[in-house]
Structures are given as structure tokens and as C-alpha cells.
């Protein structure tokens, strides 16, 4: 008995120390930075404008993005939960995919659609015989909004769709039998019952839009900076660390408030009674209006979700080199050169980033992240499910990292670990550690329900039959947890492979990752750079999509990822 208790202590001490050292210490460093400057120099190092401009823009774009996301997501959720049609499953899976796609892939995909070298401009140039791209949609607010809608519609579809499917259809029918017109039944009965879920989904979408980094950096251009982008610019381009720190503190406070509000909405008081239907809710569209709705929604979703992806993949296989001197004439054709160039080791300019090295680095980081995040997540989940009264105090400490953004983590690491042995070591271990911290909350949320789902009587039965504590874990816990562990491994691997925010602070020219290299390539001129960025994005897209499909396949239904 005594031995097993000491084991429990050790169990939660390991992730606790890991978090204190690698998460709370960097966070503290940011605060210290801000307040030491404040006491030494007064408030001279910033002007109000420097803070209010990105802050207001962040709120504004997040508000607009959330509104647009709901505008498409709510009817889409209705479509998937109420109608049966050919291709429903495929379209549903497709619409859930974007959530896990790396930001650089999404940004690059939209670049190939609406950018100066994208399909839309190429088609217009060809049709109107122009030499320059007529549309300048990149570096604009609509580009940011479009990418955010692409990203977060899946959250609305997943959360609201789930509630809609489980909402007992008898409520709506009872209202209509009681003299309510269809719109009255919706307003008086269905809407109030769904409202908590809709609000919760909206807040989550708002949170993701608020903390959006890669998309805004790559599609917003210099004049549109959110807090995250401004933190990056101040720290990496202007070397104004106090300013970056101050913005981070503001960002942390706002995201914490949104997270708290979101958590309060999670348990609506009548949720259980209303959302417990086993009725079949999906039907084939019955009349002309329903058919029109289904067709239009499907068309919209295919355009929204499929066109950027197709655009990226196809553009990475086609060359459009402008023939010099001749107006409107292009050499066009199918090519795999962008892919083969990835594996040829050229060097030259100082901007040169070696794609092969990036791919190798990213794979190594991802494997390490997978191992660190899953083992830390497993220990954390065990600690949280075993500690009785201590849990109340420890749970927030373990779960807070979800609220912190990757950019802030990157800044904190820069402030804390920008010294030997971290910088001089033979291997940049900081990147997988940062990635693990980002993946950790997802891993804990995957493993925790699985652990809590194991009835203690199973362990007790094994002990009574003479199993030693570690044997109990091996014989009972591990086989049951296997599924959750595989999901966690796939999850952390995919997150690490596409992570951009923290990596953009930590990956230097010697240690590039795939997303960082894509970012460098796409911001440089030249068709080959552009093509290589697309080729790498396509490879990353395929890997992430495979990871996401694997997760969806083996994930148990009912496990909430947010």
C-alpha cells in the first residue's frame, strides 16, 4: 500500500515539474520583462496607439470571422444532422478536416486560389489577355476572413451538428401540433434548446480567430496585424521585447476570460433532458424547397472546403512561367519539378532554406513530440484521475496551457532559454518541448475519459487475483487505453508537424521546420520558390489529412476534443 502511494506522488510530480519549468517559467519571464521595464523606464516604451490598433483589429476581425462562420456553419450543421443524401458522409468528413490542417497549408492553399499567382488571377489574365494579375485579394481583410471561415466552420458543424442530431425531434413536432407555425416552433422551442451549444461554439470560434497567427501573418500582409502577429513582429523584426511582452500579457488576459466564459457554458441546465434522443433524425429532402437547400449548401461547402485544397494540389503540379518580353504569353504545363527540387541539395543565397533538412527536422521533432506529449499526457491524466482533493487545485495548473497561444510560448522560450546549454547544445530540443506543451491539453482530453472509463473493480479484481501494481497497469489499463493512446500519438504527431507559431520563434536557419520553410519560400519572389512552397504544403496536407482521418477512425464517439 505504502509503495503504491509513493508511486502516485511520483506520477504527478513529473508532469508538474515539466509544466512548471517549461510552461510557467517562460510565462513568468514575459511578465517580469513587462514589469521590470515598467519600473525602470516608466511607460515610455510604448504609445497607446501601438496597443489599441492591433487589439481593436484583433477583436474586429475575430467578431466578423465568427459571424461569417456561424452564417455558414449553422445551416451546414442543419444540413448534416437533418438530411440524408448521396455523398453526405464524404462531405461531412471533408468538412471536419480543416480543423487539423496546419495554418501554413491553409494560407498557402488560399494563396494558390486568390493570390497574385493563384488560379483566379491566372484564369482572368488568360481570359482578358492581361500581363499583370488584375485582382489583389491577398493582404486584405476578406482573405483573412475567408481562411478563418474555412478553418472554423468545422467546429460549428461538429458541436452544433452533434446537438442537433441528439435534439429530440418530438419537441419541434409537439410545438407544431400545438398550433405553432414552423418558424414559431423553431424560435420558441428548438432555438432556445440549442442556444447554449451555439453560444459555446461561437465563443470557441471567436477564441481561435482571436489567437490566429499563421493565417493573418501570411494572408493579412503588413497593414493587418492581430495581437499575435504584432507580438511576432515586435519580438523578431523590431527586437522590442518589452512591447511584445506587454501585448502577450493583454492577449493572455483576454483569452483566459474567453476560455472561462466558454467553460461556464459547457453544462446547460436542461441539456440532458433535451439532448437524449435515439430517434432517427435524418431524412431525404422531401419537397422542392428542401432539395434546393441541400443542393445549394452542398455546392457552397464543396466550394469552401474543396476548392482551396484542389487549388493547392493542382497548382503544385503546374508551371506558369511568364515568357519574358511577350505580353500575356505563358509557358504552361504539367510538372513534377517542384517536388523533385525539394530533394536536390542546392545552396547559394543566404535566404536559402534547405527543404530536405526541413523535412528531416520536422519528422524528428514530430516523433519526439509524439513521445513526450503522450507520456506526459498519460502521467497527467493518471494524476488528475487519481488525486482526490488535490485535484481541484492541480487541474487548473495542468489545463491552463490550452489557453496560452503558441506565439506567447515561443516568446517565453526566447526570453527564458536563450542561453547555454539550450542554445549551444547539439540538438534543438526546445522545439519538440514547445510542441509537446501545445499538444498536451489535447492528449489529456483524449486519455482522461478513457482512464475514468475503466471501472476500479477491474483493477481490484486483478489485485485480488494476485497481480502486482505494475502488472495491473500492464494487464488491465494499457489494453483498454490502447485506442486512446494511438489517437494521442497521431494527434501530437500531426500537431507538431504543422506547428508554426512557436516554431517561427525557435527555428533558426540551421534548424528549419517544414512550416517555417514554406513561409520563407512563399514570401520570396520566383516561380521555383513558390512552386516548392506549394509542393511542401501539399506533402504536409496529405500527411495531416491522413493523421486526421486516422484519428476520426479510431476515436471513440462522444470524446470531445475541445
Amino acid at each position: 500500500m505504502k509503495r503504491s502511494r509513493s508511486l502516485t506522488w511520483l506520477l504527478w510530480l513529473i508532469p508538474l515539474v515539466f509544466l512548471l519549468y517549461f510552461f510557467y517559467q517562460p510565462l513568468l519571464a514575459i511578465f517580469r520583462q513587462v514589469f521590470s521595464e515598467r519600473f525602470n523606464q516608466g511607460w515610455q516604451f510604448f504609445s497607446w496607439d501601438q496597443i489599441s490598433r492591433p487589439l481593436l483589429f484583433t477583436f474586429w476581425q475575430a467578431f466578423l470571422s465568427t459571424l461569417l462562420t456561424l452564417l455558414i456553419g449553422l445551416p451546414a450543421a442543419y444540413l448534416f444532422s437533418r438530411f440524408e443524401f448521396t455523398g453526405r458522409k464524404t462531405l461531412h468528413t471533408l468538412s471536419l478536416l480543416p480543423f487539423i490542417l496546419p495554418t501554413v497549408v491553409v494560407a498557402t492553399a488560399f494563396n494558390t486560389l486568390i493570390g497574385p499567382r493563384g488560379w483566379l488571377n491566372l484564369i482572368l489574365m488568360d481570359m482578358l489577355n492581361l500581363s499583370n494579375p488584375p485582382l489583389n485579394l491577398l493582404n486584405s481583410l476578406p482573405a483573412i476572413l475567408l481562411a478563418h471561415v474555412f478553418y472554423n466552420t468545422s467546429i460549428v458543424i461538429r458541436m452544433v451538428g452533434n446537438s442537433l442530431t441528439r435534439l429530440n425531434p418530438h419537441f419541434d413536432e409537439a410545438a407544431r401540433v400545438l398550433n405553432a407555425k414552423p418558424w414559431q416552433a423553431f424560435r420558441e422551442v428548438s432555438l432556445p434548446l440549442l442556444m447554449p451549444t451555439i453560444l459555446g461554439a461561437s465563443l470557441l470560434v471567436f477564441l481561435f480567430d482571436f489567437t490566429s497567427f499563421g493565417v493573418v501573418l501570411m494572408l493579412g500582409g503588413p497593414q493587418y496585424a492581430t495581437l499575435e502577429v504584432e507580438i511576432y513582429t515586435q519580438a523578431m523584426n523590431r527586437f522590442n521585447l518589452p512591447m511584445a511582452g506587454l501585448l502577450s500579457v493583454i492577449q493572455l488576459v483576454v483569452t483566459l476570460l474567453i476560455t472561462l466564459a466558454q467553460n461556464r457554458l459547457k453544462n446547460p441546465r436542461f441539456g440532458k433532458a433535451a439532448l437524449s434522443s435515439e430517434q432517427k433524425t435524418r431524412q431525404r429532402p422531401a419537397n422542392r424547397r428542401q432539395k434546393l437547400f441541400v443542393i445549394l449548401m452542398c455546392l457552397l461547402l464543396v466550394i469552401l472546403f474543396v476548392s482551396p485544397i484542389l487549388s493547392l494540389v493542382s497548382r503544385s503540379l503546374v508551371t506558369f512561367e511568364a515568357a519574358r518580353g511577350e505580353r500575356g504569353e505563358f509557358e504552361t504545363g504539367f510538372t513534377t519539378r517542384y517536388y523533385s527540387e525539394l530533394f536536390i541539395n542546392r545552396s547559394g543565397s543566404i535566404f536559402y532554406a534547405n527543404p530536405l533538412a526541413a523535412i528531416r527536422n520536422s519528422l524528428v521533432y514530430s516523433v519526439l513530440t509524439m513521445l513526450i506529449a503522450t507520456s506526459m499526457g498519460l502521467l497527467t491524466a493518471y494524476a488528475l484521475s487519481r488525486l482526490g482533493s488535490l485535484r481541484r487545485w492541480l487541474e487548473p495548473i495542468f489545463m491552463l496551457p490550452l489557453g496560452a497561444s503558441a506565439v506567447i510560448l515561443g516568446l517565453g522560450f526566447l526570453l527564458t532559454f536563450n542561453r547555454p546549454p539550450w542554445t549551444s547544445g547539439p540538438f534543438p530540443i526546445l522545439i519538440p518541448i514547445a510542441h509537446s506543451l501545445i499538444a498536451l491539453p489535447f492528449v489529456v482530453r483524449t486519455i482522461m475519459p478513457a482512464i475514468q472509463g475503466i471501472p476500479n473493480s477491474l483493477r481490484e479484481a486483478a489485485r485480488v487475483m494476485g497481480a502486482k501494481p505494475w502488472k495491473v497497469i500492464r494487464e488491465i489499463d494499457l489494453p483498454i487505453l490502447l485506442r486512446a493512446l494511438i489517437v494521442s500519438l497521431a494527434f501530437s504527431f500531426t500537431i507538431s508537424l504543422g506547428e508554426f507559431g512557436a516554431s517561427s520563434f525557435l527555428a533558426n536557419a540551421r534548424t528549419p521546420t517544414i512550416p517555417v520553410t514554406i513561409f520563407r519560400y512563399i514570401s520570396q519572389p520566383g516561380a521555383l520558390n513558390y512552386g516548392q512552397a506549394l509542393a511542401m504544403s501539399t506533402l504536409l496536407l496529405i500527411t495531416s489529412a491522413a493523421g486526421s482521418l486516422l484519428i476520426e477512425k479510431i476515436r471513440l464517439p462522444g470524446e470531445e476534443l475541445f
Binding site: 410545438a175 407544431r176 401540433v177 400545438l178 398550433n179 407555425k181 414559431q184
Partner: protein, 344 residues
């Protein structure tokens, strides 16, 4: 009043209702009786306008209602799971239909109060419905359905979600409330006890067809076919063959019938041997309807003993007014007038 005509409906590509026609008269309580999956709930939903029939018509007082939207029909429907709105109080639930019908505030208040009084739940007005017991929910659901004074009331297994004791108690109350309301009622159930206790008329639905229609006594005394007899639990059914108008042949031997059957001579049928009509160890009026039987089991039921007896390879249930011991060989018989041969 209500007339449904030749209703067809498919479910998941398979025919569920295959031409249903019936009427409900003013103040009449009709029970739609059938096993689960027989399409009886779907029939209600078609009458309510929640589902469209594949073909066929629904008429109300001669007017074609088939395409009329649900909220314009003025019918009441009580769901099996009650579907009480969880975000509204007891009083708000009852007021809902009145509010949607555009009644005035004061009118709604007084009608809701009356409705609450009629179910003796005045003190529950502001309670959330999620805190009510099953029986209380059932009462509120009925009050809610009746509050807007519907032309026709439909109930879908209203006692189905309750346990046995509560059912018996609420059945009595329901019977009184439904008869007092003077409204035409369609009551859907799979429980023949409920149906017998409530119905003016029974409609028996089997495999998408109405197999019998009539008063509870008629259905009980003259089941239309073997399925009806078996569904209502009327007694032992033995495969038989009609050899002459008044004689059937079975594995147990030949039986004489008092009334000649409409079944074609030489065809197969099912002989209904009702346990309560069996004569145990008495003098049968005709020796040909007499069988030797071995007692397998005997259970004291209060007014009689329920026996399980073996006749050859066939197990039969019979009621005996006096005790018999297990293992004993007895003779059982049915008088000619008590026997019926039913089409399969």
C-alpha cells in the same frame, strides 16, 4: 368527422401501411392496436400532418386535410415520451398551444389555472418539467394537449413509459378524463388490456393492414383470424384442417364445431381452444371433443388453477376450477359451441 382513406406509406423503402381506411365518429374513442413496428404511430403522425402519406387521403368533416400544415389542423397529439419542453415550466408548457393560437393573456391564465386544477397540480405551476415524476409528466402532457381544445385528440402509447402499478392507476384516471372530454379520441397502444378498458371501438393493425375492426366484445368473441387471437392472448391455437363444415382434424384428434365455418372445406386453419372454456374431468357433451392429458404444471390463480397439460406432443393451457396434482392424467374437453376455427 375524421375519415382516412386508403393510406399507403413506405418506411426505409419497405411498405409500412398498405391501404388503411377507417373513420372516427363524434365523441368516439377508437383504439389503434398493434404490435410495435406495425405502423400505428406512423398512422397518427399522418393524421397530425407530421408525415405525408405516399398516397391516400385524410378528411375532416368532409374537407381534404391531406396537404394541410400541422398547425392549421387543430388536432391534439400526446407523444409517448411526452415531449414536454424542458426549458419551460409546467404552466408555460400548458399555455404553449393557447399562446400559439393567439389567445389573450387573461384567457390563457384562467385556462391554464383550470387545466392545472383538473389534474390537481396547482402547486406545480412554476416548477421546471424536468423535476416531475413520470406520472406527473404524463398528466401535464395530457393537460397540455387538451388545453387548446383540439377537435380530435390522439395519444401515442400514453402509458407506455410508466411502470405497472402506476399504469393501472393512471388508466382509470385517463378513462374518466377522455370520456369527460367528449372529444373524438384515437388511442394507440400495443397493450390489449388498455385497449379493452378504454375503447368504444378497436382497430387491429397487422403488417400494414387493418385486420379487424369492432367493439371490444366483438373482437374478443369473434377474432377475425389466428393473429388477432394470438395477439390478444385468447388461448391455445392448434393447426387444423377443415374436413367438413362442422368438423376439423388436428394432431390432437377430430373436433366438432357447432357453427359451420366460412373457411373453404379442405383448407388449413387454426383451432382456438380457450383455456377458460375447457371442461376438466367433467362430462363432455360430445365424446369426440374429449382428450386425455397429462398435467405438467398447476398454478393457483385465486379463482382457478392454471394448468399446463400435454396432449400427445402438444402443450395446452387450460383453467381448472378444482386442484389437480402434477403428473396426473386427466381428461379435458370443449363443448362444440365453444370452438372456433380461424383463418391463418
Amino acid at each position: 368527422m375524421l375519415r382516412v382513406e386508403d393510406i399507403y406509406k413506405d418506411y426505409d423503402g419497405k411498405p409500412l401501411l398498405k391501404g388503411i381506411t377507417f373513420e372516427v365518429q363524434e365523441g368516439e374513442l377508437v383504439c389503434l392496436l398493434g404490435s410495435s413496428g406495425s405502423g400505428k404511430s406512423t398512422m397518427l403522425r399522418i393524421i397530425a400532418g407530421l408525415e405525408e402519406p405516399k398516397s391516400g387521403k385524410v378528411y375532416w368533416n368532409g374537407e381534404d386535410y391531406t396537404q394541410k400544415p400541422t398547425h392549421e389542423r387543430g388536432f391534439g397529439l400526446m407523444f409517448q415520451d411526452y415531449a414536454l419542453f424542458p426549458h419551460r415550466s409546467v404552466a408555460e408548457n400548458i399555455a404553449f398551444g393557447l399562446r400559439m393560437a393567439g389567445r389573450s393573456r387573461s384567457e390563457i391564465d384562467s385556462l391554464v389555472e383550470k387545466a392545472l386544477a383538473s389534474i390537481r397540480m396547482q402547486d406545480f405551476a412554476d416548477r421546471p418539467v424536468t423535476e416531475l415524476s413520470g406520472g406527473e409528466q404524463q398528466r401535464v402532457a395530457l393537460a397540455r394537449a387538451l388545453a387548446p381544445d383540439p377537435h380530435l385528440l390522439m395519444l401515442d402509447e400514453p402509458l407506455g413509459a410508466l411502470d405497472h402499478n402506476l399504469r393501472t392507476e393512471l388508466l382509470k384516471e385517463l378513462r374518466k378524463r377522455l370520456h369527460d372530454s367528449q372529444k373524438p379520441v384515437i388511442y394507440v397502444t400495443h397493450d390489449q388490456e388498455e385497449a379493452f378498458a378504454l375503447a368504444d371501438r378497436l382497430l387491429l393493425l397487422h403488417e400494414g393492414l387493418l385486420v379487424q375492426e369492432g367493439s371490444p366484445e366483438t373482437v374478443f368473441n369473434q377474432p377475425a383470424n389466428a393473429w388477432v387471437a394470438s395477439f390478444l392472448g385468447l388461448g391455445n391455437l392448434v393447426p387444423a384442417k377443415l374436413v367438413s363444415p362442422n368438423l376439423v382434424e388436428t394432431d390432437l384428434g377430430q373436433f366438432k364445431l357447432a357453427t359451420s365455418s366460412d373457411i373453404e372445406i379442405g383448407s388449413d386453419c387454426m383451432l382456438l381452444l380457450r383455456p377458460e372454456d375447457a371442461i376438466v374431468d367433467g362430462k363432455a357433451t360430445d365424446s369426440s371433443n374429449y382428450l386425455p392429458a397429462t398435467v405438467r404444471d398447476s398454478v393457483f390463480m385465486g379463482e382457478y388453477f392454471r394448468l399446463e397439460v400435454m396432449v400427445g406432443q402438444t402443450l395446452l393451457q387450460v383453467h381448472s376450477p378444482h386442484p389437480v396434482s402434477i403428473g396426473e392424467t386427466i381428461s379435458i374437453g370443449w363443448s362444440e359451441s365453444a370452438l372456433q376455427c380461424l383463418p391463418e
